[in-house]
Amino acid sequence: MSYELLIFAPLALSLLVYIPTRNLGGTKYVALALFVYMFSKTIELYKQLPEHGYMLLGKFLEVKAFDFVLTLQVDRLSVIMLLLTCVLLILVTLSSWSLTKKPAAYFSLLIFFSGAIFGVFMSTNFIWFFIFWELTLIPMLFLVGIWGAEGRIYAAIKFFLYTHVASMLILLAFFLIYKQSGTFDMTLVKEAMLTTPALIWWLMFIGFAVKMPLFPFHTWLPDAHVQAPSPVSALLAGVLLKMGAYAMMRMVILLLPIQAEKFAWIFVVLGLLTLLYAGFMALYETHVKKMVAYSSISHMGLIAIAMGAMSYASLSAALFEMIGHALIISPLFLIAGFLHQKMNTWEMTDMGGVMQKAPYLSAIFVLAGLGALGLPGTMGFIGEITILISTIESFGSWMVVILLGSLISASYLIWTFRRVIYGEMSEGVKNANFSMNRVEFFSLLVFAFLIILFGIYPQTLFDEINQAFGVYFTGGTL
């Protein structure tokens, strides 16, 4: 099978399952089967990867005059992202199992999203990368706008416009690169570019910083994540944000290392600001899902700092934290959304004592929260310590200030546990029925399992991650 189908088959399939006028409940099985299949194909792809560098999967739709070629190439970095995406897609599908509102359309959008996101990670042509990058917005717009909570329309359109404006900057950067180098192929650009104007770097940095998001470009996120249906929040945090971080890593750092070296302090300053600022926001927040959203932003700040250090160790750490963050934040979103669904309130002050009625659910919430605050034994800790050590290596001891972020996150998470999980039962909790669909609970269990598994055996992940970055650091530094 040729791999371009991994992109275009879902795009076509999504239309196919959308069109029938009867609302088919079986769409979720189609989606699940597709994602599992894509997962297996990705693993197959992974096994074929060469030791170093890219593997060409094919070139399609060639337009020589404009170098507008759908070049599908993958290296370890992109396949790791693909694997993460597949896992999250499967789990998100499972988490949406009991959805009743227009399921066919919902799952068809998920399928569409899977095709687009595969395109993002597989294409090395800037234009096609950009095409898929933008294409991921469309299903998200609808998923937030149709299935979201009360403020969904504002959130959906804000998200769409905000990130679209950012994309425009990215596109301009790509064009400037093409003008310099005469190629849109990101594997060739680095050698082909004669000079790299700082403008290119800035455009890409800001463009991707919106998606990550970094302070002060973050305000779309709390709205979008809060209003989105919870599985979609998980997808946003787990895949879409990671897409931004991936692009930041691949294009802003690995592609323009000289510029990135010069502006490394931007990463550090914005990363730190994001980390602490979002932390304080979460501390003040009483809206449970917003708290999770700010916590998510805060962690992205940590990742940005690690990227700014630009060393072999720090990039590996950043990638690990990206994966960890995806797996940790998703269950938090899912459970926060579940609580809202059952109690019809977002306010922590109306909650309390959930542990008494839903002990296992609460336990997973606590576990994921502990992961977010970096407790040893979870992925969060591994991410935090590797980032700490590698950034100190690059910037000196003062980087211990990032631990302030960990202190703040501990504060708001523990305080959230107190307000939501522990304590006396509130009226809302007493009246609510917390029975959860078994399939959805299973997906939460998988999240919990993965958080602990990779928290104890990080080496399994790091083997791959190290190999992904090793190729860039054969000479020691970039």
Partner: protein, 614 residues
Amino acid sequence: MNVGLLLILPFTGAIATFLAGKLNQKYAFYLAELIGFTLFGLVLSIFLSYERPINVAIEWFSFGNATLPFGVYIDHLSLVMLLIATGLGALDIHFSHDYMKEDPDKPRYYAKILFFIGGMILLVSAKELLGLFVGWEFMGLASYLLISFWHQTKDPADAGVAAFLYTKFGDVFLFAAIGILYYYAHTLDLQYINLLATWHQIPDNVSFVVAIFIFIAAIGKSGQFPLFPWLMRAMEGPTTVSALIHGATMVNSGIYIVARMFDFYVAAEALVVVAAVASLSAFIGATSALAQNEIKKVLAYSTMSHLSLAFIGLGVGSLSAGMTHLTNHAVFKALLFLGAGAVIMAARHNKDLFRLGGAWKKLTLVGLFMGVGALSLSGIPPFSGFYSKDAIIAGAILNPKTYGLISTLTIIAGVLSVAYVFRIWLLIFAGKPRDIELHERIKTPSKFWISLPLGIMALITFVLGFYQKELSEYVTGKELPEAHVEYLLPLLLSAIILVGFIVYKFYKSRPDARDKLAAQPLMKTFHKILFNGYFVEHMITWFVKNVIINSVSKTLNWIDVRVIDGAVNGMLNLSQKIFALFNATHTSKVSNQAGVMILGLLAVLVVIFIGSLV
């Protein structure tokens, strides 16, 4: 082999216990007890077959070009801690059989206890600072979960939050220390770091900062000033938990880490800071303990004070004094806590000292064993507490750096321990029952489940008194320093007797005099200060609430909504204004439209004309 099992069994055991307990509540206890004693057996077998330190280097993971290890290193120091943790742990589990009898959540309880023991084992057998930190955090989590064990009610839930956050504040510094040490020493191996520091391979100022950072973590974990309030709140948890975690084992880990890095502290010249903070804590703890009404709170403050004494022992440069005191204290404090637990259980979960009294007849065995603990705690020979406390006070006086304020505070704290411990003993066991109804309901606890573990601990407390020299040599290779200060021993003893006499007067024979004194306004103020632990918690809470949450966070939140997101939403208003502006100029009148065309054309032509001239 044994070591591997020792490290893994508690965690797998915790899961197994939980699952078994879900089948049948009873299984949870038996499995936990089995695992508890197995662990103790494993430690004993290591102890008995010990030849040289067990040293296993394991690579945990490597990221980029850096590698983080996770090795095992067990020497005498670790073994003592292991014996304390598993021995007291096993006895504690045994004791829990009756104490937790009524509780429906036994599986969860035993699983958490085993998880805690696992964390402690991990901590003391870690070769590197990293492994130590993992154990450190595991214990912190276990402590949090166990304090909030009765999460349904407000106070335990709040207490858990306090415990986690106060200790987390310290932990962050330990975490930072790991990062800094890895940068400067390129290793996290504790033995190696000690050596590097001794050879001054690490810059002096760095070592000093790292030492202070680690000490801050120790302050948090061991409940020293100013991070002690959580320890008092922690008494909301089950008493068995207080005994094991907040009396005997976890709180010792702060001292353990300083002892483990003793050479590093010596090289960093940070010991005097340790002694200074600890002496202040000792004083605060000892004085506050005098004014508490709850048995457990008294014991908590006494724990704080005694841990401070152990810190002072280290701080004055005597590893042996600190470690022997730690060991002695662990045993007699576990004894006192469990004894208090027995009393509380017998008194239908009443913790108020002033409703008890005259329980001697009904709780003879408990009273006896607690008496042994009390004697040891107050430092009366030949009980174990005497030797170590004496050595610490002597050390504080002899060390020129600590002679003066530090040594004075130490002496006061040492002497006052007599006062509070006899105060509670007298209030519980002596005199006439103050609450007759309650007294009627007190029933004698089970001999096997309750008195047996107390007896064993009392026995150890007693026996330990005769093996102080050996203990000290075992842990540190050095003897306890003899008290070379002249007149110290007689002076201390007479002070102890004097204080004991006053307490006896006030709490046994003349309570009326006490009440009269307590009614004085000045005494009331003192009492208020002491009762509230010098208002340290109030100050910290005030700071967090008013400064961090309501000032910093609130301001940032305002900025986020009004400025940053305001700018984004402002775009909407702006475009609305621009739209209105444009729309006003676009009417649907044909004459206007034609006019615009012609005027526009003229304008363009003018531009072109001017342009062509230029």
